[in-house]
């Protein structure tokens, strides 16, 4: 169809518009002539109309949170226009959370970086223009290699660090360990997890042996107890949580939900019960619930075990001896004797009564017999006698039968368990340390005590404990609301213990288990074969810049929040060069402005495709492809336990001169002098790695028919159900191909299901016993108390008189939507945040400070200050203010940086850098602030 005057219906409206008569039309100035009407469709579109549109659907997985939901990407003539959840994908099942639909906005973000660049303005600052100039990839990679080779020559290769955030797996962050070992730096993958949710992984590691997030069986769960997790906003996997919510709330029986949080979010609103706890006090609630479960005899005896004599000795305040003493045995014998005596007395009484009845009946019969002798023809008398005699005979027969049955029962009766001096008072089955825990901590943690600490009434605590323990199956879960505090791990231990006490560990409908691994094939090449003497030298064994696994943080996995301040202090040393991937602590790290000082001193390489805060401080930009342009694989976020892996296939060729991060690492590797470059030349690129790994599918095909690289790309996902293990009524079973039929031995359970040092669920944590000195140093707890879930008074960072919480919302989980106005427009729906995000403040707190709804306020403490608009609301505690951790960017693009939007800065400008000592988790939710009207 040609673009003539008559090719489109010419409405009166558009006619007027074209002639410039209508107000608001695009053209100004002189009236154009009738014959210069702008065509309705532009040139590109008419080519499409002629050819006929061809829509291609490619597979990928979402990038907006770690859940990795499978997506179908719709591209027509090279233009990506839609993303929906993949239908035959066990995570997305055809659905998505709101974030899944941002993909095309991120691909076509007008502020995206268009190619590698180098900084020409040596000054670095928030308001300094870096004056980047575009360079070629060759030049960019040579700059990096030049620096890395120079460091190596000086023996200072440890001063090169790679900081990582949302890594996906083998073909991005998974490449870094080899790189680090070949190159010679311990700082090869400084992860963000300490600024994420490390405490929950640490708790699980301590108690059930898995340093990981748990897999849950929500569709079969009948009671869900949530501590400090946005189950319907950000807890992962969010999309699956919502799918399961629909099932849980409409199945028979309906899953009952109790939520513990510090303000009314959608999760709390949708629940059946909300406990608005004082921040950092979740552990007190859990301890009191455990106390109730034990004192009321509600624990699961199949899983936990029982008192040898079946008598519940859990009484508030009373210590329990571990073993029976002579007194215990004497008391038991006495009790038995008394019971026997009572029984004998009762039996005697009953026998006497019976004898009396028998005698009476016999007397009646005898009397009748006499009467009959006197009148032998009386039929009525004869009949009466016959009836009575029959009755007597029946009674005798019945008595004999009962005696016989009783004898049989007595024969089969097991003797009552008899306490023996020195024997265990409590036979613990799959837990270890219960009695000790009770004695050391739990015996005094009553609901009344918890009420004082947490602000939740004892009545409610008792009710929830009873509901949780008597509704099977049940799940108790927690995340940062409970754990991003200085007492976060001990809080988490108390909460996680609830699952063990009620026998829901590894159970159907309970905390189902942990993620099984995918059968990837190994690479045909080993990087160890390419390590030169420099790499192998013991000189390379230096501490990491984040001081993980040193005396300072012996149990932490990562300590990203420490990197800037360690560098600034030169302890353990100063960094020279840092490469940043998918993370931006200069905005998202606690006390974030410290990073600005650190980055001024370091050669910073940013790989983000967007001009974020790190970008402003970077010396070199090596922009990544966005995920719709990438080929990439990953393993699933813990979901239901059975192994799942997924693949991204590019929907379009890169629209700019960008390169996938994994390939950049390989390219850098090729330029490092020595055998390392030979290794990377052999590897080639990430596509090779993926192809090699997919060979593993041949022997372990996916349930959906995926057997190789090609079928993997077609389907987007590989998985094999079911999860291999099941705990039922205190017995562990393994899947045998047909069912959970193989009973597992204790040893097998230890190796495959609960790999703790004891092979049991540790209520007394062995690893904490080993680190009791560290615990004493950091918490001031005597060593003998260290291993137990317990109440620790939280320390609060910052200063001020209000608790400050910065949660996530359904529209953003990790930092990738701040430059998307589609997201801004729906981000904080409960408070009406469509342009700014508002600070939730209770009317009492507001009135005290002369603050009215909509007022601009200043949130400040010793760390810093930001300004924001107040939303006076009934949804938060009077002592707690809430500001989602989403906006306040000063970079990231034209919408993120818009001056007319509030808040004026990151929530991290008022968050003290305080960490939970065991996991290293940054205590984002522990801080205190002041709020003043501006």
């Amino acid at each position: 169809m040609s673009d003539t005057l008559l090719s489109q219906p010419l409405s009166r409206r558009r006619f007027l518009q074209a002639t410039g008569v209508l107000a608001g039309s695009a053209s100004v100035g002189a009236l154009p002539s009738l014959f210069t009407l702008a065509p309705v469709r532009n040139a590109r579109a008419s080519a499409e109309a002629a050819a006929g549109p061809e829509t291609v659907v490619t597979k990928s997985f979402c990038h907006q949170c770690p859940a990795r939901c499978g997506i179908d990407v719709y591209t027509t003539n090279g233009r990506v226009h839609a993303v929906y959840g993949t239908l035959d994908n066990p995570l997305s099942n055809g659905k998505l959370c709101p974030k899944g639909h941002y993909a095309q906005y991120l691909l076509y973000d007008p502020d995206r970086i268009k190619g590698p660049m180098k900084r020409t303005n040596p000054k670095k600052g928030r308001h300094e223009d870096p004056k980047f100039v575009p360079i070629s990839w060759d030049e960019a990679l040579d700059i990096v290699a030049g620096r890395l080779n120079a460091l190596r020559e000086k023996g200072e290769s440890h001063r090169f660090a790679t900081l990582t955030g949302r890594g996906w797996g083998y073909t991005d962050v998974g490449l870094l360990k080899e790189f680090g070992e070949l190159y010679g730096t311990p700082n090869y993958n400084l992860g963000h997890s300490s600024m994420c949710s490390d405490a929950s992984e640490t708790v699980k590691h301590f108690m059930d042996g898995h340093h990981a997030y748990s897999a849950y069986d929500y569709p079969n769960c009948n009671y869900l107890l949530v501590f400090g997790a946005g189950f319907l906003e950000a807890f992962r996997p969010f999309n699956a949580n919502m799918q399961n919510w629909g099932k849980m709330r409409t199945k028979a029986p309906k899953t009952k939900v109790t939520v513990v949080d510090v303000h009314l979010n959608t999760t709390g609103s949708a629940a059946d019960r909300l406990l608005l706890v004082k921040p950092g006090r979740d552990g007190a609630l859990a301890l009191a619930m455990a106390h109730v479960i034990l004192t009321e005899g509600l624990w699961d005896r199949n899983f936990v075990g029982d008192f040898t004599d079946g008598v519940n000795r859990f009484k508030t305040g009373a210590e329990i001896a571990a073993v029976y003493s002579q007194e215990d045995v004497d008391a038991w014998k006495q009790a038995q004797a008394e019971a026997a005596a009572k029984k004998a007395a009762a039996a005697e009484k009953a026998a006497a009564k019976k004898a009396e009845e028998k005698a009476k009946a016999q007397a009646e019969i005898d009397a009748l017999k006499q009467k009959l002798k006197a009148a032998p023809d009386d039929a009525a008398l004869a009949k009466k006698l016959a009836d009575l005699e029959k009755k007597q005979a029946d009674a005798a027969a019945s008595e004999a039968k009962i005696k016989e049955q009783r004898a049989l029962l007595d024969k089969e009766k097991k003797p009552a368990p008899q306490p023996v001096v020195g024997a265990q008072v409590f036979n613990e089955k799959w837990t270890v340390g219960l009695i000790e825990w009770w004695n050391v901590e739990l015996k005094d943690r009553t609901p009344e005590w918890a009420e004082k600490v947490s602000g939740i009434s004892a009545k409610e605590i008792i009710a929830v404990a009873r509901e949780f323990a008597t509704t099977k199956p049940a799940v108790a879960l927690f995340e940062r609301g409970a754990s991003a505090h200085t007492n976060g791990v001990y809080n988490g231990m108390a909460i996680h213990a609830l699952n063990a006490l009620t026998g829901n560990m590894f159970a159907k409908g309970g905390l189902r288990g942990y993620q099984m691994k995918t059968a990837w094939a190994k690479l045909p090449i080993k990087h160890e074969d390419y390590m030169d003497d420099y790499a192998k030298s013991p000189e390379r064994k230096k501490p990491r810049i984040d001081m993980v696994k040193t005396e300072k943080w012996p149990l932490a996995k990562n300590m990203m929040q420490e990197i800037a301040i360690n560098h600034l202090a030169g302890a353990p040393y100063k960094l020279d060069t840092a490469m940043i991937y998918m993370t931006g602590a200069v905005f998202s790290g606690p006390d974030c402005t410290k990073w600005e000082d650190a980055w001024r001193e370091v050669f910073v390489i940013d790989t983000s495709p967007y001009p974020g805060e790190t970008h402003k401080f970077a010396d070199l930009i090596l922009p990544d492809n966005t995920y719709l342009e990438r080929l990439q694989i990953a393993d699933t976020y813990p979901y239901e336990g059975y192994p799942i892996s997924m693949i991204r296939t590019p929907a379009v060729k890169p629209i700019y001169d960008t390169k996938t991060f994994g390939d950049v690492v390989i390219e850098i590797g090729k330029r490092i002098k020595g055998p390392m470059s030979e290794y990377y030349k052999q590897v080639g690129n990430t596509e090779n790695i993926i192809k090699w790994m997919c060979e593993g599918f041949k022997d372990k095909p996916g349930d959906n028919g995926v057997v190789d690289f090609e079928t993997f790309k077609q389907k987007g996902v590989w998985y094999r159900k079911p999860y291999a293990y099941l705990q039922k009524d205190g017995v562990f079973y393994k899947w045998d191909g047909q069912g959970y039929n193989t009973v597992m031995t204790e040893e097998e359970v230890k190796v495959e299901v609960m790999p703790t040092p004891t092979g049991k669920f540790e209520l007394k944590v062995t690893e904490l016993e080993h680190h009791a000195d560290y615990v004493q140093k950091r918490f001031g707890i005597p060593p003998e108390r260290a291993p137990f879930p317990q109440w620790i008074e939280p320390k609060h960072g910052g200063d001020g008189d209000l608790h400050f919480i910065s949660p996530k919302l359904a529209g953003q989980a990790e930092g990738r939507s701040s430059n998307l106005p589609h997201v801004t427009a729906m981000i904080q729906p409960v408070q009406g945040g469509k342009h700014d995000v508002f600070l939730e403040i209770h009317p009492e707190a507001a009135a005290k400070r002369g603050i009215q709804d909509g007022d601009r306020v200043r949130i400040s403490n010793k760390i810093g200050a930001i300004e924001v608009r107040a939303r006076v609301t009934q949804t938060t505690r009077p002592d707690t203010v809430v500001l989602p951790m989403i906006h306040g960017h000063w970079a990231q693009g034209r919408w993120a940086e818009a001056k007319d939007r509030l808040p004026t800065g990151s929530t991290n400008e008022i968050t003290e850098n305080l960490s939970e000592p065991l996991s290293g988790l940054a205590c984002y939710h522990s801080g205190l602030v002041n709020v003043h009207k501006v």
């Binding site: 409206r13 239908l87 998505l96 709101p98 076509y108 609103s269 529209g811």
Partner: protein, 252 residues
């Protein structure tokens, strides 16, 4: 002739707004142009506050106020139950926006509320489209007569029940189930994406359709029913539907 209708189960809806975002994506909406929106409101006092929400598409009323007032007959009701806007006829008088009791309509020249530069100016069109987003739907799908696609300047737009998808369904289809590969591509975007499975779309004139069964079995009610517009969107309220609440203090 089908009479297309929607059912939304409020017992399952979690207020995530995936429906709002999916609609915006499928229909090339501007930020904030929430043809499908989720309305939140708060009731009560701390610590017994309650936050509630419900998704609000266009109701595609049997008796639409908007059609009654449109001076150019740009807005109209089809035989299959859709209420649509013809962008070739619409003169942007906004009478329909005043008349609609549900507030489902949007005007192109409204001031951008999201802060920062106006997206229309960042992605301008060089023809009479009001803007030209790089993620625009395939051109062949655009359909101004039925209010589908990127609209021109100075017109009103609203939810079309994904007319461009639904009308491709084979005649006689009782329900559009996004979990059924045969009907998924015809199902409205908001229904496709809803993770808890709170949304349903089907033929209200078919007594065997699932939408009708849901309305009957689970207490389906219509919003502002006393106004007489007879919406074709029904809400399942489960046990909570029988008593209307007047306690709402503030609408977001």
């Amino acid at each position: 002739m089908p009479k297309w209708g929607m059912v939304i189960d409020l017992e399952k809806c979690v207020g995530c707004q995936a429906c709002t975002v999916a609609c915006g994506m499928e229909n090339n909406r501007l930020p904030g142009e929430h043809w499908q929106d989720v309305i939140f409101f708060t009731e009560g006092e701390y610590p017994n506050t309650q936050t509630k929400w419900f998704p609000r598409p266009c109701m595609h009323c049997e008796n639409p106020s908007c059609v009654a007032v449109c001076p150019t007959r740009a807005t109209y009701k089809t035989e299959e139950g859709f209420v649509l806007v013809d962008w070739n006829r619409c003169i942007g008088c906004k009478y329909c926006m005043i008349a609609c009791p549900y507030g489902v309509r949007f005007y192109t020249e409204e001031k951008a509320a999201y802060g920062g530069p106006n997206m229309k100016e960042v992605f301008p069109a060089d023809d009479s489209h009001s803007w030209n987003p790089p993620w625009k739907m395939p051109d062949a799908r655009e359909d101004w007569k039925h209010g589908v696609g990127v609209q021109p300047h100075d017109v009103v737009s609203k939810c079309t029940f994904c007319h461009h998808r639904v009308t491709k369904a084979p005649p006689g289809t009782a329900d559009l189930d996004p979990q059924d590969p045969k009907t998924r591509e015809f199902t409205p975007a908001c229904v496709v994406t809803c993770a808890p499975g709170a949304r349903f779309f089907g033929d209200l004139s078919n007594p065997d359709s699932q939408v009708n069964k849901l309305i009957a079995n689970k207490n389906g009610v219509r919003l502002l029913d006393h106004l007489g517009n007879k919406p074709q969107v029904y809400y399942l309220t489960g046990e909570g539907g029988s008593v209307p609440s007047g306690r709402a203090l503030k609408k977001s």
